[in-house]
Symmetry: C2
Subunit: 81 residues, 2 copies
């Protein structure tokens, strides 16, 4: 079994309301020196295959077909174990 | 400036409806060999400080006070750059 880490983040220039609000909330709580906060999603996917290359390929297809929206998202895939 | 990666994930045993639904959707799309899907949140926080230890400490306080709910979440912090 391999575990695949898929990170789906907003492209540069796309508004990130969650990140902006977290930054505002942290500032209101008194945290200093915050330059920026970006939020993103992480999916940990356990696959039955033992072949890291097959897992990578499968994860890329998952991103294209479901996990990421190519208009606003970038993604990165890391196969672990 | 340092960038801090804060990963906030659900504790083991806590229901993860998003992960479950992603798994169902991927199965419906025809993907085989899916054992499990876990979803989690990632925050990338840019801090003005140059001291990695101070950044780590600040990020831990952010998790305690805002980013994570200790009842259902675990978190991990990695200081980069």
């Amino acid at each position: 079994m391999v575990q695949v880490r898929v990170e789906v983040r907003l492209k540069k220039g796309v508004t990130d309301p969650e990140g902006d609000n977290v930054q505002k909330a942290l500032t209101l709580l008194g945290f200093k020196g915050l330059r920026a906060v970006h939020s993103s999603k992480l999916f940990l996917i356990d696959l039955a295959t033992k072949d890291p290359k097959a897992a990578q390929k499968q994860a890329e297809e998952m991103c294209r077909r479901l996990l990421a929206n190519p208009v606003i998202h970038d993604y990165s895939i890391r196969v672990e174990k």
